[in-house]
């Protein structure tokens, strides 16, 4: 049960982040930080189907995390879900076509190990 929830969280978080990145890249770089312009950008982003999908997956991930906390300790939940840093980097490469240099790989691995240690 615990590991099924961990898998669900990692999968849902990954989908949420991939969709959010796709949606925002499709929207284009936000460069005008005046309040009116930000409001207009928000209105456009709210109609973006990728962003809607990402919010749906975020909700799934949030409730699965709450469910995990009801059957496991926080000190198990956080390090187990740190795996998503590695999974997401792999998929950022294959699906989003980001170029992951050796330096970035090393950074992502260090962060994943660090998050697991912090939560111990």
């Amino acid at each position: 049960m615990k590991w099924a929830l961990v898998a669900a969280i990692v999968a849902a978080t990954t989908c949420a982040d991939l969709f959010q990145t796709l949606g925002m890249k499709r929207h284009g770089e936000i460069h005008d930080f005046r309040v009116g312009a930000l409001g207009r950008a928000l209105g456009k982003v709210a109609q973006n189907p990728f962003v809607s999908a990402s919010i749906l997956f975020m909700a799934v991930s949030f409730f699965a995390f709450l469910a995990l906390l009801s059957v496991a300790d926080l000190s198990f939940a956080v390090p187990a879900t740190a795996a998503s840093y590695v999974v997401e980097t792999v998929l950022a490469r294959s699906i989003l076509r980001e170029r992951i240099s050796r330096k970035r790989w090393a950074g992502a691995l260090l962060v994943a190990c660090g998050v697991a240690l912090v939560a111990l």
Partner: protein, 138 residues
């Protein structure tokens, strides 16, 4: 002003700082407000009353700011760049626990924080964006 291959600039630095601080602050306020509420056993009215708690309301507002600032950052930065960089929030939580709440911090936690800082530094030295596509919103 193209984002392609650009090193860490002021705009990215500022928005990343907002992402990290709003996340850490939002979670801290939320946990402060939920502690001792016992709302999970008190039915739908208990759930509703949670949102009237000023700590919880402030926490949720900060988490909304977190989501919006992260989306802004992702409008020009790689996901594989944003993820490790914004993980520095874990370190901030450890520091807050140590210096604001006078918690005991174990050596594992310090070691983990060091790894996260090192990882964020490594990733911070890579190009912000490695994909093509539209550079500016129409």
């Amino acid at each position: 002003m193209s984002g392609y291959g650009r090193p860490l600039g002021l705009k990215t630095l500022l928005v990343s700082a907002v992402v990290v601080v709003s996340n850490v602050g939002g979670n801290a306020l939320l946990s402060r407000g939920l502690k001792g509420q016992g709302a999970f056993s008190s039915g739908p009215l208990g759930w509703l009353s949670i949102f009237l708690n000023p700590w919880v309301a402030a926490g949720i507002s900060l988490l909304v700011l977190w989501m919006l600032s992260r989306m802004t950052l992702l409008s020009w930065a790689d996901l594989s760049y944003v993820l490790p960089l914004t993980a520095s929030g874990y370190v901030l939580t450890v520091l807050a626990g140590k210096f604001l709440l006078a918690e005991q911090v174990s050596w594992q936690r310090w070691a983990g924080s060091l790894l996260i800082v090192a990882g964020a530094f490594l990733v911070g030295g890579t190009p912000i964006r490695t994909t093509g596509g539209r550079r500016k919103a129409p």
